[in-house]
Point group: C2
C-alpha cells in the first residue's frame, strides 16, 4: 500500500513540475539516477556542519538542503558543529576550527578573496569534506560548485579543489529601460518591476540572484547604456536600494548607467561639462547620495558620445575628461567607472571598424585607476563572427573590460539555438601578439599580460521575464557559459556545454553526447547561414531581424549593409588590408601581417579584411561564389542535422522542453533558409553566376524577401 | 524505509513547487486533507470511463488524471467503457449508452448546448456518477465543475446537478498591443508573443485556455480596442490562426478588434466609408479570408469614434451604418459584431455621463441581428463605484453586452486587494425598473427581460505574463469571479470568494472565514479611500495612478477631475438631478425619481447625482465634510484590518504567497493613506474646515502630493 502511494506521489511530482523545469535553469537538481554515485554521496555525506550565521551562510545551507532533497531524496543531519565522520563542513576560514585551518592553510594560500577550497581531509582520522573560503560569499561559490559535482554525477571521494575567479568584476549589463522594455531583449520584458519596487520583492529577484551566484557572477548593471537620468533620482534610487538589498547576500553588487547629461536633466544645471565645478560637485553629491543608500554600490557604466548619447565631447572635452570626472566622484567609496569604447562618429568618414581604436588607444595611461574601458569583443558590433577587437592588448596601462553580448541581437534572437561560449572562447583564445606570441585576449582580460589590478568581463544579458528567463531553453546555456567564462576565461566551451547539459537536462550519455555536439557546432552553423567567410552587418535595419544585404538608404553610411559587404560585379568584401582602409595596422605586426595577406588571412575572416573577385579560388579549390553559396547551404544543413539529433532525445527529457526546442529548431531551420535564399539571390545579382550543385533552389524571389517588414520585432529600443 | 522515502519525497515536492503555486491559479488541486472527504471520493470513484476521442475529451481525461493524482494521490483506472460500480462516466450525450441516456433524459432536457449534467445514478443497481452534456465542450465544463467539488471538499454521494451558462458569449477583452504592451495592464506584458508565433506555441497559451475553460469563458478578443490594422494582415492572421487552434479544444473562440480605417491603412483604399461599395467589399473579403483560416472565428469588437479612434462618423455615417456593414461581412460565417457604446465627444458640451445614452438609445431596433452593443457597467469609466449605465434596460430590441473591467485601472493597479465580483454583483443586481420593478441589469444581460437571443458579458482582462498571471495573487480571484458571473450573473460574490479561496489556498475554515470577509469588504474599502459618497474620476492624469483631484488643465474639460467633483466653497458633487444636467432622466422614472431626490438617493452615490454644501447633513447626522473625511479614514482603517487578518494566515498557506500578499497590503495601506491625505488636503481648501476627530493628520503637504510624477507608470497606452 505504501509503495503504491509512492508510485502515485511520483506521478504527482511529474504533473506539478512539468511546467516549471524551464524556470529552474541549470539548478534542476534532478534525482541522481546513477545508483553507484548516489550511494557514494550518501555514504560520504552523512551530516552537514554549517559554520556561521550570515544571510549568505543561511542561503548556502538552504541550497544544500534543496540540492540534497531533490538529488538524493533526503537531507543529511544539519548541525552547527562537527560530529563524527563523513561530514560536509561548510564555513569561511574564520569560522573553521584551528585544526581544520591548519590542515587547509596551503590551500587557502592559493585562493584569492573570492576563491574557494573543496577538499576531502582526514581529521583525527575521520574523513570529512570541507568547503571554505576567505569569506561567506566565497563559501557560497564553493557550495554551488560542490552541488554541481553532484549534479554532474562526479565522485566526491578525493575532492581537492582550490579555485578562484580570474577577474574581479563578472557582470551582467541589462539594457533594460524604465518602461520595462529591453533593448535587444528577446525573452519578454525587464525583470525589474519599478512600479512595485521598493515595497514588493518579486521572488524572481531572489531567484535571479541565486542563479547568478551559482555561476560566480558578482555584479549587475540594472539599466540600459542608452540611459535615462531618472534612475538617479531619489524616487528610483529607493527602488535600486531594495534590489541591492536582495542581491547583497548573494555577493552581487548593483551598478547603474550614468547618463552624462543627468546634471542638466535632473540636476537643474545649465551644463554637463565635466570640467565645470558645479557639474563635478553634482556628481560627487549624487555619488555620496547613492552610497549612503547602497554602501557597496559598484559604480557606473557609461555610453558617451556614441550613437546620439550625450558625453564630454558635447563640451569640447574628451572621454578621459568625462571618465575621470566620474571616477573621482565614486573613488572615495570604492566605486569604479566602466567607460565604453563603443564609439563611431557620423563626422568620421573612416572605416567604422577603425574608429574606436583610433579614438581610445591614444588615451592609454590617462585614465584614473578606478576606470575600466569596456570594449566589445569585435570592432563592429556583436556579429556572428568578428576578429578580436584591436584595442585588446593595445592599451597596456588601461584595464580593458571585455563586453560580450549574451542576448542574440544578431544571432537569431531567442529562436535560434546558438551556443555562444564557443564564440566567446574563440575571441578569448585569439592571439593579439601585442607582447609577443601567446598574448591572448584572455590574458588581457584577466590582467596577467600587463599586470592590471582591475579586471572584468561584462555580458549584455539575455534575461527577461519569460517563464524560462531567456526565451530559448538553450539560451540559458549562454547565460551560464558567460558566467563560467567570466570566472575563468580559459575554460573550454565543450566542458561548459557538458556541465550545463548535465545540470539542466540529464546525465544520460545517450543524450549528452549528441546534444553536446550540436551545441558546439551551432555557432558555426549560424555563421554559415548568416555571414560566412567574414561577411558582417548584412542584417535588416533597426530590429536587426533577418537578412537585409540590400539596405543602402540609411542616413549614416556605416549603418548600411552595403557599406560592409561592398558587393559589385567585381567581387565582394571589405578591403581593410594595406590596399584598403588599412585597418590591419591597428593590430600588432604579427597579427596585421596575417590578416593583411590574403594567403594567410583565415578564411573564416576573409571578407572582413579583403574584397575579392567572385572567381577567387578558396583553399578547397572552390570559387568564392561557389564557396559562399555552399557555406550558406551548409548552415542550413547543419540546422537540419541539429533537428535530427534533437528529435531523438524525446525519451531522455521532459516533453515540455523537448517540444519547445523542437518548435524553435523548426523556426531556426525556416530562418536559416530565409537567410540563405535572401543573401544568395541578392549577391547573385552581382556575381551573375548560377548556384552551384548542392545548393537548394530558393523558395521565394528576392523581391519577396525585400518586401518583408517587421514593425513590432522585439528589442528595437 | 519506504515510509522514510515517502517523507523525503514530500519534502522534495514542497521545495520544487513552492515558487510555482502562483502560476497554478485556482487549479492547485491541493491534497484533500479532510480524510472523510478523501475516503468518500476514493470509495465512490474507483474507475473512470471516458467516452469519446476528441481533443476536448482527451483534455478532460488529462484534467481528471491531474486532479486525482494531486488531490487524492492516486488515479482510478481509466477505461473506454463502464465496468463494475462506482465509476465516473464522462462523455457527451451521443457517446452515452442508450440506457444511461434514458436515465438522464429529463436532465438533458434542462440544459442548453453548453450546459452539463453531473448526476449520481443507479445503473443495473450499480452506483455510477455521470458527467455529460450535449457536446464535448459541455462535458469539459462538467469535468471542471466536478473537480471544483473535490477541491472544495464537498460530497459527491448524491450529486444531481444540471447547470447551463446563462449567456452565450463569455469573453475576455485583452487590451494588448502588437508590441506586447498592454493598455491598462498591470501584470507584466502581453501573453501573445507575436514574434514567435505561429511556429512557437508557448505553454502559457495552453494553460491560459485551460484556466478559462475551467470557469466557462468561451471567447477572447486578442487585441486592444484601440486597434492596429496590421492584425488583419496575412502576416498576423497566420499567428492568430495558431492561437485559435490552441484554444479550440478548450471551447474558446478567438475574436479580433477591427480598426475602422483598416481598408485605408492595409487595403490601399481611399476611404473607410461604410457605405462605399469598395469598403463593403473589402470587409467581406477580409472576413472570408479570416474564416478560411479560422472557421469558428468569433467576430469583431469595435471601438469607433471614441477617444480619437476612427469610425463611421468620419464619413458622415453613424454607428448603425458602421456596425451593420461589418455585421453583413461576418454574418455568412456566423460571426458577431460587438460594437462599443463607450463614446463621448469633444464637440459635445453635455455632461459626459449622458452622451452614450443620448447617442445610442435612439438606435434601438436598427442594428442587424448579429450586432451586440457593448456597454460599460457605468456611464463614465470603470470607477470604484458608479451607478449602473442608463442604457441597460433602455434598448429592448438590442442585445446589450456587459463590459466589466477586470484589470484595476482605477482601483490600485495590481497592488491593491480588491475583490471585484462584489462590484460586478452590485451592478448586476441593480434594478433598472425599465419593465417594472425587478428589471435588474442581470436580466438585461442574460436576455430574459426582453427575450434577446444573443447575450454576453465581456471583461477587460487583468492577465499578463507575470509569473502569477495577474500581478496580485488576489487579482486571480477577479479573473475567476468574472468567469463565474459571466456564466451565471445571479451568483453571489460571497459564494465565488469561498470557492476561489478553497481552490486556490486551503479548505481550512480558520483561513477561509476571515479571508473571505476581507475579500468581501475590500471593494468598499477602495471606494472609501479613493472615491467615497459618489465621488468619481479624481485620479491623476494619463496613467490614472494615485489621486489627482486638482487636475484642471487638460485640453478636454471632461478629462479633468475638477469637472467631476466640482468642489468649491459652496460644496462638492456633480449635480445630475433635474436642477443640474438632468442625467437622471435617462433612467426609468422609478430610478430617476430615486436618484433625483437627495433624500432617496443612496448615499453611496450622493455626489454622483448632487452638488451639496459642506454642511449638508448625512443620514448619520455628520456634516458632508466630516462624513467625507471619516469615509476616507475608514478606507484606510479597513486596509489595516485586512493586514491584521492576513498576518494571521501564515500557518495555513505557503510562505511565498503569504509574503507576496503581505508586501502588497503594505503598498495598499501606504497608497490608501496617500489617497486620503491628498484628497482631504485638496478638498479642505474649499471646505475651510478642520479634519474631524478620528481622522489622522496628513503625513505630507498638498504641494508634495501635487508634485509627484510617475512617468513610467505601467499600462498608460
Amino acid at each position: 500500500m505504501t509503495s503504491l502511494r509512492f508510485v502515485f506521489l511520483f506521478l504527482l511530482i511529474s504533473f506539478s513540475t512539468a511546467a516549471q523545469k524551464d524556470y529552474k535553469l541549470w539548478l534542476q537538481y534532478n534525482t541522481v539516477a546513477d545508483s553507484t554515485a548516489a550511494s557514494e554521496y550518501k555514504n560520504n555525506l552523512k551530516g552537514i556542519a554549517v559554520l556561521g550565521n550570515s544571510e549568505t551562510i543561511k542561503i548556502a545551507e538552504k541550497e544544500l538542503k534543496t540540492g540534497f532533497a531533490d538529488m538524493l531524496g533526503s537531507i543529511p543531519e544539519i548541525r552547527k558543529d562537527v560530529k563524527g565522520e563523513n561530514n560536509l563542513i561548510v564555513g569561511s576560514q574564520m569560522n573553521l576550527s584551528s585544526e581544520i585551518k591548519t590542515e587547509l592553510q596551503a590551500d587557502l594560500n592559493k585562493i584569492n578573496t573570492e576563491g574557494f577550497v573543496i577538499k576531502a581531509i582526514l581529521l583525527k582520522n575521520k574523513k570529512q569534506i570541507v568547503i571554505t573560503g576567505k569569506n561567506d560569499i566565497a563559501v557560497l561559490y564553493g557550495v554551488f560548485h560542490f552541488l554541481r559535482i553532484l549534479q554532474t554525477n562526479k565522485s566526491v571521494k578525493d575532492l581537492n579543489i582550490a579555485d578562484s575567479p580570474k577577474t574581479n568584476i563578472r557582470i551582467l549589463n541589462h539594457w533594460d529601460n524604465l518602461d520595462r522594455t529591453v533593448e535587444r531583449g528577446y525573452a519578454g520584458f525587464s525583470l525589474w518591476n519599478w512600479q512595485k519596487l521598493p515595497d514588493f520583492i518579486d521572488q524572481r529577484y531572489i531567484d535571479y540572484a541565486r542563479a547568478n551566484a551559482s555561476i560566480g557572477i558578482n555584479g549587475t548593471v540594472l539599466t540600459n547604456v542608452n540611459a535615462n537620468a531618472l534612475i538617479l533620482t531619489p524616487q528610483y534610487l529607493e527602488k535600486v536600494e531594495a534590489l541591492a538589498n536582495v542581491f547583497r547576500p548573494y555577493g552581487i553588487k548593483v551598478y547603474l548607467t550614468a547618463r552624462f547629461s543627468a546634471p542638466i536633466e535632473i540636476g537643474n544645471l545649465k551644463t554637463a561639462d565635466p570640467k565645470d565645478p558645479e557639474v563635478i560637485n553634482w556628481w560627487k553629491n549624487k555619488s555620496a547620495e547613492i552610497y549612503k543608500r547602497i554602501p557597496d554600490f559598484g559604480g557606473f557604466l557609461v555610453k558617451a558620445n556614441s550613437e546620439g548619447q550625450p558625453g564630454p565631447q558635447n563640451y569640447g572635452r574628451d572621454h578621459v575628461d568625462g571618465a575621470n570626472m566620474l571616477a573621482d566622484a565614486v573613488a572615495p567609496f570604492g566605486g569604479v567607472i566602466m567607460w565604453r569604447a563603443f564609439v563611431y562618429s557620423e563626422h568620421d568618414a573612416n572605416d567604422r571598424a577603425k574608429q574606436a581604436y583610433a579614438e581610445f588607444q591614444p588615451y592609454d595611461g590617462k585614465f584614473k585607476e578606478n576606470v575600466m574601458v569596456q570594449v566589445k569583443n569585435g570592432a563592429i558590433d556583436f556579429q556572428p563572427r568578428e576578429p578580436f577587437h584591436p584595442l585588446f592588448g593595445a592599451m597596456p596601462k588601461t584595464p580593458l573590460m571585455m563586453e560580450f553580448q549574451i542576448t542574440q541581437e544578431y544571432l537569431g534572437f531567442s529562436a535560434h539555438l546558438v551556443f555562444l561560449p564557443k564564440l566567446f572562447q574563440e575571441v578569448l583564445e585569439s592571439d593579439t601578439f601585442q607582447k609577443g606570441k601567446g598574448s591572448t585576449v584572455a590574458k588581457v582580460v584577466d590582467g596577467t599580460l600587463y599586470k592590471n589590478k582591475l579586471t572584468g568581463t561584462a555580458g549584455v544579458a539575455n534575461i527577461g521575464n519569460d517563464l524560462n528567463w531567456t526565451g530559448h531553453p538553450f539560451a540559458q546555456a549562454n547565460w551560464y557559459g558567460f558566467g563560467r567564462l567570466a570566472w575563468n576565461p580559459y575554460l573550454d566551451s565543450e566542458v561548459i556545454a557538458e556541465e550545463w547539459l548535465r545540470s539542466t537536462f540529464s546525465n544520460n550519455e545517450n543524450f549528452i553526447k549528441p546534444v553536446k555536439n550540436i551545441m558546439i557546432e551551432s555557432r558555426e552553423a549560424v555563421v554559415n547561414y548568416m555571414t560566412p567567410l567574414g561577411l558582417h552587418h548584412i542584417m535588416d535595419t533597426g530590429h536587426h531581424y533577418g537578412p537585409g544585404p540590400w539596405v543602402s538608404n540609411l542616413s549614416r553610411p556605416e549603418w548600411n549593409p552595403t557599406y560592409y559587404h561592398k558587393a559589385d560585379k567585381n567581387g565582394i568584401g571589405f578591403d581593410r588590408s594595406k590596399s584598403g582602409t588599412d585597418a590591419v595596422w591597428q593590430y600588432a605586426p604579427e597579427a596585421a601581417k596575417l590578416f593583411d595577406n590574403v594567403e594567410t588571412c583565415p578564411e573564416k575572416e576573409l571578407l572582413w579584411f579583403h574584397h575579392l573577385s567572385w572567381d577567387y579560388k578558396l583553399k578547397n579549390g572552390q570559387t568564392l561564389w561557389n564557396g559562399l553559396a555552399l557555406k550558406y547551404q551548409q548552415g542550413v544543413d547543419q540546422v537540419r542535422k541539429m533537428q535530427d539529433v534533437w528529435n531523438k532525445t524525446e525519451n531522455y527529457i521532459d516533453s515540455e522542453r523537448f517540444n519547445e526546442v523542437k518548435m524553435l529548431l523548426e523556426i531556426q531551420h525556416k530562418e536559416a533558409k530565409w537567410w540563405r535564399d535572401a543573401c544568395l539571390l541578392y549577391f547573385q545579382q552581382f556575381s551573375g553566376k548560377a548556384l552551384p550543385d548542392g545548393v537548394e533552389k530558393p523558395t521565394q524571389t528576392l523581391e519577396y524577401f525585400k518586401s518583408l517588414k517587421f514593425p513590432f520585432a522585439p528589442g528595437n529600443g
